[in-house]
Symmetry: C2
Subunit: 439 residues, 2 copies
């Protein structure tokens, strides 16, 4: 980052443009910061640069393109969790960190371990390290899911399915502990035991059917928890109705260690609007757990007809991004993120696909076109999360006591003076008093 | 009952016409019965009359008409749980026991106790005794429901709503213990906390919303259980999907003492058909609890359009029973009962309205027209449950050891010889050996 052109006078707060918006008060801290030198003495009347590094709320995307980019030989455009072709993936990798600070990596069992006993985890680890090196937090998706699961489970008796499924949870969570901080532990459990879109029953559906949803969820969460006690463990679903509510209630009554609720929000049939979005958030916030909007998409092309029930059933031969669609998408992305971040329960938002290349169903959901050029939504989202809600590097003069005032969004900031620097974390909304020591 | 005209020869089994249907094997017993005199000695080579009294599986209807008939001054055709006008109710009361052996009584809180502290339980007790005197089992509906609940709950804080709601459960279950053998303890909990069809929030919805579904269900079932340990306690819902599945799973994981699952099955939009019906039964049978089809209806007139989501939204000014509709209904009623009784998990079926008079939404759901004349469905159902599946009183000669063979449906039968008689209960499917002593 580079300092802004003009220095603020002593006493002037360094502030994010939207720091005073009442609807965002729970996301913002106004901190009186004492800047100290390495000797501990206040750095009085000195020019320092203050800037934000990352939001506390996870504003993420999927990192599938980077996985494929770093393992280009293995790129399979039709495979599960496929990224863009490497030539576009290269551009997406550059653009990723301009809007996102968290990446979801594809741990689909069927892709991770198509052949039993030969897990392909190196490519995921390579991508994870690429992101971590760039300050991007990581999330794994999913550990238990009835779709894109290992085909070879079909042959195993249910006891064995359960055993190997839990082994795989332990194996992957253990291997990525400290690197992947959050997991969609169980995905779409509401429908899992009654899922019948396949000619033969997959092993995970059978496991759910024979043991029940809650026992499967409990076993998976306990396996993940024991493998990485610090990870954030999510129960994720596309069902936004009473079924997922009832499941969450049952799971919590049963004492399953769920850390957060994941709500998918693919909007192929149109933007939900503020009212519906807030109603959904309110209904799931009742359980006292943080909420992640785990799979958010807004189209920049024609919408899927409302009468389609299973989105997988709609596969047009071409689904182009259109100028009108892109204008609409840019507006809706901003409205949607404003609504989500305004809700106190939201701890994370994952946009499900930076680029159109390789997108689910071929839909134009990306913020970037299939050719790698950004759509208007890309700049619109960046202007919001790294503009309005952000403290760009700003030079400010400390006062006679070495104080400066930072009025910014919760998250990681950095203070630098010459070749010394210090991290500055705003971790609680409201007024704060913070000391930083430049080293 | 009167004996059939011809006596069976010694050794010939007394059998229900459908006793050998493989699909019903779980409902049928083939018992070698030793008939003994009061002295305990086998009654050899004697003519006795054998006949069925009641099915083990509860084949019931709603008893609302009888409540109003016995308390005609209080009949309010627009009130909750209203029965037919007394002049039609009189005919319905006669017809009831020709097809039904179990009656559901209306315990809607808003009707039972419209004024706080002045419960109107005498009229329900009068009706309950009327049915019990005729050998009809009783079920109460419902104890906790957000609809037709007491209006005065709106004024109370939630703690108080909870307290009085549980008091009312204890009061009513205690008073009717030994008379009402089954209760819909909680009705429609899936939708209860998100129910918003009313201008102001009812007290029960608020209770569910603030405490959660499972805590409310647990409290209600525990109150009912302690008030009548022998009663069959049902969790009843109209949701036949994953939401009710998830709720049932959570409730059972939480250890709530649920005895049976109640599945409503109003078919105002058309008969489900055998395949869907069996699929629903199979999905809920997974939990190992008996199933009751608690609110079955099939129309004898035009169907409600498929696009209506909340059936309450459809209120035509007139909804006549038609000749074609009546023929269709008669066929579908028989198909539906065959499907239900063929399923081993089904413990009860309640047809939701013997007559059209006073039917929910004014729909022609009854087996009897509004003027009190039976539709074809009435005879069709009677021919099935009291014909094919029934042992009509039959004279048979015992053999030299006092034996006779009864091949009939599980339930209560009776053996008589002259002025002596004995109850004969078939309570387990398959072959059985039974002794009865005539007294």
């Amino acid at each position: 980052m580079s300092p802004t052109s003009h220095a603020l006078p002593a006493g002037a707060p360094v502030a994010a443009p939207a720091a005073t918006e009442p609807a965002l008060a729970h996301r913002v801290s106004r901190a009186v910061v004492t800047v100290r030198g390495a000797d501990g003495a206040p750095l009085a009347d000195a020019d320092v640069v203050v800037g934000q590094v990352r939001h506390a709320v996870a504003l993420g995307g999927i990192g599938f393109d980077v996985v494929d980019l770093l393992d280009a030989d293995a790129h399979d455009p039709d495979g599960p969790g496929a990224g863009a072709p490497p030539e576009v993936g290269r551009r997406l990798a550059e653009l990723f960190t301009e809007v996102f600070d968290t990446a979801t990596l594809p741990f689909y069992w069927g892709a991770v371990e198509p052949e039993r006993g030969a897990p392909r985890l190196e490519r995921l680890e390579r991508a994870a390290r690429w992101f971590a090196d760039r300050g991007v937090r990581l999330k794994g998706h999913p550990l238990v899911w009835h779709t894109v699961t290992a085909d070879w489970l079909r042959e195993l008796p249910t006891d064995e399915v359960e055993r190997v499924a839990l082994e795989r949870v332990r194996r992957d969570v253990t291997r990525f502990a400290g690197l992947v901080g959050a997991w969609d532990v169980v995905n779409e459990a509401v429908i899992a035991p009654v899922f019948d879109n396949e000619p033969t029953q997959n092993g995970i559906t059978r496991w759910f059917l024979e043991r029940g949803r809650i026992p499967v969820i409990r076993a998976a969460f306990e396996a993940a928890r024991e493998s990485d006690p610090r990870a954030t463990l999510l129960l994720n679903d596309f069902n936004m109705g009473t079924a997922f509510e009832c499941l969450v209630e049952g799971v919590l009554e049963a004492g399953v260690p769920v850390d957060a609720i994941g709500l998918q929000s693919h909007m192929h049939q149109g933007y939900w609007g503020e009212e519906r979005t807030t109603a959904v958030l309110d209904r799931f916030a009742r359980y006292g757990l943080p909420l992640h909007m785990t799979e958010t998409t807004l189209l920049s092309g024609d919408l899927m007809p409302a009468e389609v029930v299973d989105l997988n059933d709609f596969r047009p031969s071409a689904w182009p991004s259109t100028p009108e669609g892109e204008a609409r998408q840019a507006e809706e992305v901003v409205r949607h993120y404003r609504t989500l971040v305004a809700h106190p329960a939201v701890q994370g938002v994952t946009y499900w696909g930076l680029g159109d290349a390789g997108a689910w169903l071929g839909a134009p959901v990306g913020l970037v076109r299939a050719d790698g050029t950004p759509k208007p939504s890309f700049a619109a989202l960046r202007d919001l999360v790294r503009g309005e809600w952000w403290v760009a590097p700003t030079t400010v003069r400390t006062d006679a006591d070495g104080h400066l005032v930072l009025h910014g969004f919760l998250g990681d900031h950095r203070v630098t003076a010459g070749d010394r620097a210090a991290d500055l974390v705003l971790d609680r909304a409201g007024d704060a008093v913070v000391d930083v020591v430049l080293r």
